[in-house]
Symmetry: none
Subunit: 488 residues, 2 copies
């Protein structure tokens, strides 16, 4: 049976696989930093070469505005194809789109790293316990997302070796982005351009999420969407002396606070008219399943220095329910007047806030943005005017719990780890999932193996070998499941 | 008659006087900014040299904690003495304390200045009309307070030249502070130390206020007090990802807005318990006198780019009544979370606001501060904690309308300008006035020549030559009035 050969291969080649990953991690592919532009392309080429060795056809696609040198203004997207539609014997069975990203977050504050972020080190040993990490690679991108993508790349390599066939004969489209950590600014245009091709896929698989604990694998079947806005309230055409004008003229600081404080009612519900109209109600089955998850709200709050009294939000919902199934409004930034040291008696000409909304299916980001701006307008303080800015966001995405691909992913993890994964959602936003749904009609399943303490986006990011092992075996099994659905 | 000689001298030497002032304005004496520490001292020395040339005895006094280098931790106070008590022939007649400050406000946002704030420029020409400014100096401190102090310095210089006597023989104590724009943190200790000496003065004269219009000189007989605080609301012990924690944990930005928005009721009254308990009620006579003043709320708002609908504040009071006789609460600065360009999905660990209160007689700053902090504490959001800071402030101060020095100042302005000044109050705070009253028993008369559109504390601060001229002549006349009261 080929799956055993493939599993045997990944076991035997684990060390080489980790060393390959460390080679990728040495490339500082920080997409937001222009001085790492060539490094980002190197990381793309590295992935392309890996996939080519597993037999896939490769296309390194330019993005953004094309320059005279034939390169785009954006970072490239690596596309790879296994058993393409139309190739002999591949016309039937599932066609899976695997999405990942090869760019990484910046490393600052770099002085908080115990070792240089782009010199990956193997640290510790063993499998770890509930309390302590086991053997792990420490580097920027170790988990997010190179480490998680590498598991799938190794599974492809294993199947090529074990079966002689690319991806074990399963149709795959692989899409690796280089701008996930810098806003995916060119992704939507790319997806629209390739929509016809991508629509031929049946489902999208992403490894960029986490487990619930070291021995608690999880499949994520929904992420929240996002609207990120900036609103500026203007008063006088100049800063005013708060002695001469205090009590006599609009103060945009006072007024912005007063308007934004009305965003929530006493039950923590967002007050914008129609805000909840399209929210898919939380099913009793989901509430019951989530209540059984090994999640402690007290422990979670303790890790951020807070007690149980900080378990706050919309009334009538548990913490997990609020994160996974309920929309929210947050002021991510607020700024107005004098904010330096000491005192300055000023009434500022304007004050600004960055206000974002996490959305759940089936809320529409553009509609929510418009209704927020209209809500602000309806509360314009006398003598003031608004300036609105949309920093964009993404659609929420939730796959139905009856999906056969979701079941296949669950079974794969169970076969690979001996543990049936829990089905969870995430309060975060993965804009590509929303785009794939709205542009290509594709559902996304998140089969990720990160841990809460992997420090993604922070100094000393790590990925544990035990997680890598579970993930690689799960991907081998997922390909096997797709083979069976294809009649192999 | 010496007064004519002195007036003739200031007329003839006006250009030199303005150039002297521009030299002073070139020194960036921003007291709140530690990197300008030496500049502040330079500006003190400049004033000391000017006064010394007019025959006064000078003492540059260190303030704050004394360092090993013989310098204080605070900025110096320049003391200057003319015809000191005990000197021959100077035992009788009035002894006036002149107070001013030589430090200036910060200059940000510096990009809104049309020319560098410390490169004073002479702009425009003529006397200006009701609508348009005339010839003026544009620079930080041009009006507040170097320009206004310079008028008195030139009057002293004129009397020295015209009469051969320092200050025309009148007893003066001059006190120039270097921390007025940064909370006067060392002034109270200094006044207490010098209380015995200062109590020998009869009245304090300050030029740091404004006229009611270009041809409407005014004497100010009362100023508001100030409490300036900074409150920081702390949530988690780290910044949080707003996807994973949005709706699940306290957001200090949201919570700070919600607490501060409750500072005012629907009538614009401050909601802190006991806030109005000690407020001296506004008399009907004052309301009637103020209603007759040539003040147009519409014109005032128009100058700051606003319409009549911006005439907002406590219900039941006119704009002037709100500014002169009613206390107020203002958020001078607010800051929390991500405030750079673009989007960052963060729930910040903390958010801060600078909240100040303008007070009227007989409110007590310390009591108001304590009750504000207690009010915040009573509204502490679950899971959060406060950090409070007092940036200090000052007592309100109002002089009786029957004072002979107030009458002398009025007469001086009338002689100098041909127009009898109106008696007004100011919504601003000049903490020294409150301190001089409570520590030394001195009333303060404010004879100032600024204009509403002088942009004090804002970019492109200016002081008009016509105002400077009126002020210099008024100070020459005030010295003459004091001479007459001394029997000269």
């Amino acid at each position: 049976m080929s799956v055993n050969a493939a599993l045997e291969w990944v076991g035997r080649n684990e060390q080489e696989g980790l060393e390959r990953l460390m080679g990728w991690l040495r490339i500082p592919s920080i997409s937001t930093d222009p001085k790492h532009r060539e490094d980002v392309r190197k990381a793309a080429d590295w992935a392309a070469a890996h996939l080519r060795e597993s037999g896939l056809r490769i296309e390194v696609c330019e993005t953004g505005q094309m320059g005279a040198d034939g390169r785009g203004s954006g970072h490239p997207i690596v596309m790879a194809y296994a058993n393409e539609d139309g190739a002999a014997g591949t016309g039937s069975g599932p066609h899976v789109l695997f999405y990942g990203h090869y760019d990484v977050q910046p490393v600052d504050p770099v002085n908080l790293w115990d070792s240089p972020p782009f010199e990956p080190r193997m640290v510790g040993e063993g499998e770890g316990t509930a309390e302590t990490p086991g053997a792990r690679i420490v580097a920027r991108g170790a988990c997010d997302d190179k480490g998680q993508v590498a598991m799938f790349l190794e599974a492809l390599r294993a199947w090529k070796h074990a079966s002689g066939k690319t991806a074990g004969g399963v149709r795959f489209t692989v899409m690796l982005e280089g701008e996930e950590e810098s806003g995916s600014v060119n992704l939507e245009a790319f997806l629209r351009e390739r929509a016809a091709e991508l629509k031929r896929c049946d489902v999208c698989l992403i490894s960029d999420t986490g487990m619930l604990g070291r021995k608690v694998p999880a499949i994520t079947y929904g992420v929240r969407g996002l609207v990120y806005t900036e609103v500026t309230l203007h008063g006088a055409d100049q800063d005013l002396h708060s002695g001469l004008w205090g009590g006599r003229a609009p103060n945009p600081n006072n007024d912005l606070c007063r308007v934004l404080s009305q965003l929530w009612d006493a039950d923590g519900r967002v007050t914008i008219p129609g805000f909840y109209d399209k929210v898919r109600p939380l099913g009793e089955d989901e509430r019951k399943a989530w209540a059984k998850l090994p999640f402690s709200v007290v422990e979670a709050l303790k890790r951020i220095g807070l007690g149980r009294e900080a378990d706050r939000g919309e009334a009538g919902y548990s913490a997990l329910e609020r994160e996974w199934a309920r929309p929210t409004a947050e002021i991510n930034g607020i700024c107005g007047g004098y904010t330096g040291p000491g005192a300055k008696t000023v009434i500022p000409a304007h004050a600004s806030a960055k206000v974002s909304f996490r959305l759940v299916a089936d809320q529409d980001p553009a509609a929510i943005r418009d209704s927020f701006f209209a809500w602000c307008r309806s509360k314009t303080p006398a003598g003031c005017r608004w300036e609105f800015h949309d920093h964009s966001g993404g659609n929420p995405a939730t796959v139905g719990t009856g999906s056969k691909y979701l079941e296949a992913a669950s079974e794969s993890v169970k076969e690979a780890t001996g543990i049936r994964p829990v089905l969870v959602k995430s309060g975060g936003s993965i804009p590509v999932a929303g785009m794939l749904k709205s542009i290509c009609g594709l559902d996304t399943i998140f089969m990720g193996f990160g841990l809460d303490d992997d420090r993604v986006h922070s100094p000393n990011e790590k990925f544990e070998v035990a997680c890598y092992r579970m993930g690689t075996r799960s991907h081998v099994w997922f390909i096997e499941r797709m083979r069976r659905m294809s009649g192999h």
